[in-house]
């Protein structure tokens, strides 16, 4: 049974801890990103360049994917194509089994969340260990991420300490709630896993068609561990992440860290091309995932959605996200970008309330490093919700009535006359403190102004008559 955004948001609004954390966290990131984006004199040109490169990559996506496959293969890697989540899961489980292991280490990847890889691995008897600190916290707590980049943003240090004490064996014994101590415990707990595990699974921030180079951007070094130490590396990437040329990294390695965490550069970027003799895994697999992306590409207005580089800057500036929290979006993609990605991946019937989870304030579009016009796409998707018949019947009826009312002046005058008559029953001190459904949401917290006896039009006509 799927609930809708307003219901889930109501839970978030009542979660005092989460609201405090989110307000503090998003405020901090907003300040940092604003500072480091303002200090680059060519920041606006970089945004334009990022958008232009993504457009070009997607306009010839078939060619770039084929070129990427050729170059990765030439460099000793293997390329697999997964049309949907089930195919991707099947490929990854098969490759892991072939390596003869029953555990894998994972580096933060929204794509593996999207295809629900972990349950599939567990079902196949393979234990996945998330190694990004926040992902590990979320996995240990058996919860879902609430922020693209800071998935455990909804939890505080005491909750995390209690979790580590319960789940980390000797490394959690007597642990304090200081973030440096918690971090040190995670380091000690995972170090042995990094060194003994044969297979690692990663996402990818980009892959370069021209050279076959794949890149991962990270902070903690868990990514480097996964990408370097195991014998087998399996990376899964949405097809939209391909970049035409190696030089395009000049743009994206500047846009991503500054927009994401407000750093001039994140601590580590790893770039690899196939396999490198004597350095790192001896087997590399790249899984290219469609899973609905080609469908998004087919929509001329919404295809910009695929420009997203998962920086999460739109979450951090969104007044709705800050209050409702990430879980309200019921997806690994939250905030404004989630409100356009999820309905397109899962369908409007299931996720049709998400395009309405925005006041269309435009703060997301204003800061997006690749200038995705999220408000426009939200409105576009709302049009599809209505056209495909997923809007409420009552609402559709009311909108039809309103359209007829605005369809000619006589009807509008009549409606205003009827309204003035009707409001007499509800009016108190010149305002309407209560309205019937569907307008009761308004009067939850706001009085509604009463219709004045004379409309502007009446006044104008009387004045002209004089």
């Amino acid at each position: 049974m799927s609930t809708n955004f307003p219901t889930r948001a109501a839970d978030g609004l009542r979660n005092t801890q989460q609201r405090r954390n989110l307000a503090k966290a998003t405020n901090t990131i907003r300040g940092k990103t604003a500072k480091v984006t303002a200090e680059l004199p060519d920041w606006e040109a970089l945004r334009e360049a990022g958008k232009a490169i993504k457009r070009e990559a997607h306009a010839k996506l078939d060619q770039y994917l084929l070129q990427l496959e050729e170059m990765v293969t030439k460099a000793g890697g293997h390329v697999h194509w997964a049309a949907d989540a089930a195919e991707a899961r099947e490929i990854i489980v098969r490759l892991t089994r072939q390596a003869g292991t029953d555990q894998v280490i994972k580096i933060k990847s929204m794509t593996t969340d999207e295809i629900e890889l972990n349950p599939a691995l567990e079902e196949a008897g393979i234990r996945p260990y998330e190694t990004d600190l926040a992902d590990m916290i979320v996995q240990m707590a058996k919860e879902r991420p609430s922020h693209l980049l800071v998935p455990a943003i909804h939890k505080n240090r005491v909750e995390i300490r209690d979790l580590f004490r319960a789940e980390m064996g000797e490394h959690g014994t007597g642990l304090s709630d200081r973030p440096p101590d918690l971090t040190r415990a995670a380091r000690a707990y995972l170090r042995q896993k990094f060194m003994e595990t044969k297979v690692a699974i990663s996402g990818a921030n980009f892959a370069v068609a021209e050279t076959g180079t794949v890149g991962v951007v990270e902070s903690e070094g868990n990514g480097r561990m996964c990408l370097t130490l195991p014998q087998v590396l399996i990376s899964i990437m949405g097809i939209e992440k391909v970049l035409p040329r190696f030089d395009d990294l000049s743009v994206f390695l500047q846009l991503l860290p500054r927009a994401a965490t407000g750093e001039r550069m994140n601590p580590y970027n790893s770039l690899w091309t196939g396999v490198h003799a004597g350095d790192g895994p001896c087997e590399f697999h790249l899984v290219l995932l469609d899973n609905g992306r080609s469908k998004i590409l087919a929509d001329e207005v919404a295809r910009e959605t695929l420009h997203c580089i998962r920086c999460s800057r739109c979450l951090n500036v969104c007044p709705v996200y800050e209050r409702a929290g990430g879980h309200a979006y019921d997806s690994m993609y939250q905030g404004p970008i989630g409100a356009i990605v999820t309905p397109q991946l899962r369908g409007l019937e299931e996720a049709g309330s998400l395009p309405y989870a925005s006041s269309l304030c435009g703060a997301c579009h204003e800061v997006c490093p690749v200038k995705i016009n999220i408000p426009q796409i939200l409105v576009h998707l709302r049009g599809r919700v209505v056209r495909e018949g997923h809007a409420g019947k009552g609402e559709a009826l009311a909108m039809g009535v309103a359209a007829r009312m605005f369809g000619n002046q006589g009807a509008l005058d009549w409606s205003l006359w009827a309204g003035r008559l009707g409001q007499k029953l509800l009016m108190r001190d010149g305002t309407l403190p209560w309205l019937p459904p569907p307008l009761s949401g308004w009067t939850l917290s706001r009085d509604f102004p009463a219709l004045p006896e004379q409309s502007f039009r009446d006044w104008w006509q009387k004045r002209e008559d004089k």
Partner: protein
Amino acid sequence: MNGRDLILSRVRAAIAGSPPPVTPTPAINRVWEGDREAMVERFLDRLRDYNVGVTRTSGTVAPALAGILAGRGIDRLAVPTDLPAEWRPDGVALVPDDNLPHGALNAIPGALTGAALAIAETGSIVLDGGAAQGRRALTLLPDYHLCVVRAEQLVGLVPEAIAALVPNRPITFCSGPSATADIELDRVVGVHGPRRLDVLFVG
């Protein structure tokens, strides 16, 4: 139809009929505008901003390295097999990483390497497995990384670095020691990668 053909046919159908975009590539800044010393200053400032220990020398390398290591209390280092002879500090045991097992590498307190290049604007050192750098695990498992950057290896901006790099090498950008802000957004320096990074700038 297999996954590959299915995806390609869907993609082709999706983009059919859309004219190729005619967006002129906007001009981003590609080269450092300003003098060389300002570039060096920018680099060292950025490093300090990441809590990187910064030392600059115009003299011989080995004594400067010895001084840094004495300050850190480190007397044993893993090094690439091609470490330049003039980088061998006195009083420090050097263990060449001749494909050491990961466990052995993990037990050594620090690593000493060079770099492929460095970027002033972002305070990044870039490793590519080339001369005096060794494999990626060398600068990953030990808890401390000491990196020698020569003046001529420094570029100003990210695009200059991308232009200079050879794509088919294993490339790692390091900008400060590993870090996380995952717990209440408190920044903690030192997670899985080296908890300390020192840079000796020569020039």
